[in-house]
């Protein structure tokens, strides 16, 4: 065994070879790949697709009133699901979370009404409920830690105890199996403002204009951010790009103002075209100004056949989608297959054809990259054309105003952005090395753009005359807080480690038992809060309230990308999962379908999302090695 080599030399050579390797290997992951690795990506795709589906198929889904309904339902599930997700990442389950909401409501109701006929004010009863909830969570945690039994069993026991106990005590004390007239207790109206108040804003004059400006600004930020993350920055902005960029901005402004002020339908298309052209020119100009130009050298001799095959499939799928959009008349509501009308069936085929076709063409474009630069350009242009064709066919043939105007405009804007991105890619090589400052700026721009867009949508919804409940606000706060806790605090790292390998965690000093007990207490207290929201909203509680919700929380968490075995996942994903289940719960009655199909859809979504999550994650991990 050679020990004659000097250790210092050995390590020096190791460092040198590592440094050389750093130059050779790609050190930079593109923004798309980074997005795909996130745990929430499957849920994000799911939310978009399901929303689009119900938007096409129902009248009310796209309205603010519809939004108020499904957001409220999502909030009630999502608030607790977020913490159930945290617990799941920590490697445990809590089956008593659902029953906890009912027990809290009953407890608070009984205390404030029945015990002490003077009527103990809710100001005392509500905190007592919180203490009891925390105690039950503590009990769950201690039982799991000490008995070493699976949490599934322990919390199942708690669930039955809560359910039976609540029913029993309510019947005993109250004579009924529910608590009502909650609104007669003292202090009710004040606390109602906290837990269940509603908000309804009237539309104001500049609302639509403001909304559109916010959306366009959001889009601009996101596009710029993605460009920043993908391309190499010039040391100083190049002056050559300014005129192009300026031209683009002017075109956008003219097109936008023209569209805003137009009344008749005649000249609309000119302004729309100017807007689209402006977007393309603007993007090319921005890239010219900010990024290094040149050619991407990436040939590896693979053949073009695979590319054409995929492109061919894409074209065929799109043609099918367009064909079906014309075939089935929108007005016929005759039942076609079992649960769906002709209209529903057509919607499914159209969405499948169009989305599938676009994805296939997109894959063809990706496959074309190592073959040749021009082939890639051709594929991207094909994609842009496909989008435009789809837009125009839908516009002319469809009798639905939604498809005709809104989807049409969206598709055309997408086509413009895609064309701009194609041209930028043709003239600029992609970034290969890490550039921390550009990464930071790019990410900030994208996040700012997404937030601005969300804010714009929120503003438009809130000021549309429909009512929104405060549960939605609490849900958003809970999601933000839990995500911050998970990703940016020490405790969050501990949660990941306890779920991923608790022996490893313990051996480096992480207080495993304390972390688990804290998580159980968080879930129980979240259950209490949800119970309060329900009780103040419905002026009472049923004794069996919440029974069955525990599985919904788990479904939401799993759909959101949380691993059942723990150690990986996302709190925001659980919120998205709750949103998807809410869409289904609300969309099916709106569409006029039998609401019993709700469970069928839920099961299908659950299975599909788990498969998609796994698929994307394995793909993204493998590509990174």
């Amino acid at each position: 065994m050679a020990t004659t080599t000097n250790v210092g030399d050995a390590l020096a050579s190791a460092r040198a070879s590592a440094a050389k390797a750093a130059d050779e290997r790609l050190g930079h992951r593109g923004p798309i790949q980074r997005l795909l690795v996130r745990a929430e990506i499957g849920a994000l795709i799911g939310v978009t697709i399901v929303w689009l589906f119900y938007w096409i198929v129902t009248k009310q889904f796209g309205t603010a009133a519809g939004a108020g309904t499904y957001l409220d339902i999502a909030a009630n599930t999502g608030f607790v699901a977020v913490f159930v997700a945290l617990l799941m990442i920590g490697g445990e389950f809590d089956l008593s979370a659902g029953a906890m909401t009912g027990t809290s409501g009953i407890l608070v109701g009984l205390i404030s009404e029945e015990i002490g006929r003077k009527g103990i004010s809710v100001f005392i009863a509500v905190p007592i409920g919180l203490l009891v909830a925390a105690g039950i969570g503590f009990w769950n945690g201690q039982m799991v830690n000490r008995s070493k039994l699976p949490s599934f069993i322990v919390t199942l026991g708690t669930f039955y105890i809560l359910q039976g106990g609540t029913l029993g005590f309510t019947k005993q004390i109250n004579g009924k199996v529910f608590v009502d007239k909650f609104d007669k207790t003292s202090g009710f109206s004040i606390l109602r403002k906290v837990f269940a108040s509603e908000f309804s804003g009237k539309p104001f004059g500049a609302r639509n204009a403001l909304f559109t400006i916010m959306l366009l600004a959001a889009a601009a930020f996101i596009i710029l951010g993605v460009l920043h993350l993908t391309y190499r920055r010039l040391a100083k902005p190049s002056a050559a790009g300014f005129p192009v960029l300026g031209g683009g901005v002017v075109l956008i402004a003219v097109g936008f103002i023209g569209l805003l002020r137009s009344t008749g339908k005649g000249s609309d298309w000119i302004f729309g075209a100017l807007l689209g052209l402006g977007i393309v020119v603007g993007m090319v100009g921005a890239a010219r100004t900010l990024y290094v130009g040149g050619v991407d050298v990436h040939h590896d001799g693979s053949t073009a056949n695979a590319v054409f095959k995929r492109a061919g499939i894409g074209v065929v799928l799109i043609a099918l989608g367009v064909f079906f959009s014309k075939l089935l008349d929108h007005h016929k509501t005759k039942r076609l297959f079992l649960i769906t009308t002709e209209q529903g069936f057509r919607a499914i085929l159209v969405v499948f054809g169009v989305v599938g076709g676009l994805v296939a063409i997109g894959l063809a474009a990706r496959k074309a990259t190592p073959v040749s630069r021009t082939l890639r350009l051709e594929m991207m242009v094909l994609a842009v054309l496909a989008i435009t064709v789809v837009a125009f066919i839908l516009q002319s043939e469809s009798t639905s105003r939604k498809l005709r105007v809104e989807l049409f405009s969206m598709l055309l804007l997408m086509a413009a952005v895609a064309l701009g991105a194609t041209l930028v890619e043709y003239f600029h090589p992609k970034r290969l090395v890490a550039d921390r400052a550009a990464d930071r700026h790019g990410t900030m721009l994208v996040v700012a753009g997404a937030l601005l867009g969300a804010l714009g949508v929120l503003m438009r919804m809130l000021f549309s005359g429909s009512t929104f409940r405060i549960s939605i606000l609490w849900w958003i706060i809970a999601t933000a807080g839990a995500s911050l806790l998970l990703l940016r605090t020490r405790f969050g790292s501990w949660i990941f480690s306890v779920g991923g390998n608790k022996d490893a965690a313990r051996s480096v000093g992480v207080p495993v038992a304390r972390v688990k007990t804290t998580l159980f207490m968080m879930v129980s207290c979240a259950g209490w809060f949800a119970g309060m929201m329900a009780a103040f909203q419905l002026n009472g509680t049923q004794a069996n309230q919440g029974v069955g919700k525990e599985l919904e929380y788990i479904v939401a968490a799993v759909v959101g990308g949380n691993l059942l075995t723990g150690g990986y996942g996302s709190a925001a994903g659980a919120s998205l999962g709750a949103l998807v289940t809410a869409f289904t719960a609300v969309g099916i009655p709106y569409a006029g379908w039998n609401s019993n199909w709700n469970f069928l859809f839920l099961g299908a979504i659950l299975l599909l999302s788990v498969l998609v999550n796994n698929f994307i994650r394995t793909r993204a991990q493998a590509a990174r090695r």
């Binding site: 250790v7 190791a14 460092r15 590592a18 750093a22 940016r488 020490r490 051996s507 000093g509």
Partner: protein, 261 residues
């Protein structure tokens, strides 16, 4: 604190699990800048010994001294606070978690943001990358899950982590057992590097060919007892191998096999 005393010393340590005597009468010393090898076949009690030294279990008899002071660790955290870092066979790594989170697990760097103490993520990310680079591993992206690293790389992350957090004594539990020749060589080089930085290293293994080149002192365990405590100049590699394999038993076995041919 006695500065002339060895970094760590075990005197007649014994541990029982119910009726079973896992360890009995074990004595050894660890000095700064030197490597002590603990050898023995499977079942000899090596794992139990480390767990006692690292604070996972408590010894039932005997004394454990850190820099001359008798201690009895109640938890691994206590041992860590005294500068005793153990790198276990399963590496104490969480495979699904990123490299930088694993690196800083249990000792996360934080900074204040108003009333809250948040993780200092950029600092954690590039510190993990830099420390690993100093050990010769180039992690492309500190965000990648530790499970995507090779076995030797994971061992190096674990060792780099222990060294960074100021360990005085580094205990390595069979680090080369699951590795190939080249990767084992890498790990052995890190062991020497750690010793060069004035750590005391305890290297547990059942492979005398790995132990002999790097060790300064050797202790051989068999069925919970010590077969001897030797300095490098007191024993040759072959003698050590024979001792580990049970000496006379190996000769008998060889003779039997010859007869059966």
């Amino acid at each position: 604190m006695n500065t002339t005393a060895p970094l760590m010393e075990a005197r007649e340590i014994a541990k029982n699990y119910g009726n079973i005597i896992a360890l009995s009468g074990i004595s050894m010393t660890v000095e700064a800048g030197k490597v002590t090898c603990v050898l023995g076949d499977n079942g000899a009690g090596k794992s139990t010994l480390i767990k006692i030294l690292a604070g996972v279990h408590q010894h039932d008899e005997g004394e454990l001294l850190i820099e001359g002071e008798p201690v009895k660790f109640a938890s691994p955290r206590e041992a860590l606070d005294r500068g005793i870092a153990a790198v276990y066979q399963d590496l104490a790594m969480v495979p699904l978690m990123s490299v930088w989170r694993n690196f800083f697990l249990g000792s996360e760097p934080r900074r204040r943001l108003g009333p809250m103490k948040l993780l200092n993520v950029p600092h954690a990310r590039h510190t993990a990358k830099d420390e690993l680079f100093k050990m010769g591993i180039d992690i492309r992206d500190p965000e990648q899950p530790v499970g995507t690293l090779s076995g030797g790389e994971r061992q190096s992350v674990a060792i780099a982590r222990a060294v960074y957090f100021g360990a005085k004594v580094l205990i390595l539990d069979e680090p080369t057992s699951a590795l190939g020749v080249k990767q084992s060589g890498i790990v052995l080089r890190y062991i020497l590097e750690a010793a060069k930085r004035n750590l005391g290293v305890i290297f547990i293994t059942h492979n005398p060919n790995h132990a002999y080149p790097v060790g300064d002192r050797f202790i051989v365990l068999s069925r919970g007892r010590s077969l001897g405590n030797f300095a490098k100049n007191e024993i040759t590699r072959d003698e050590m191998t024979r001792l580990m394999a049970g000496g006379g038993e190996l000769d008998e076995l060889t003779a039997d096999l010859e007869r059966a041919r």
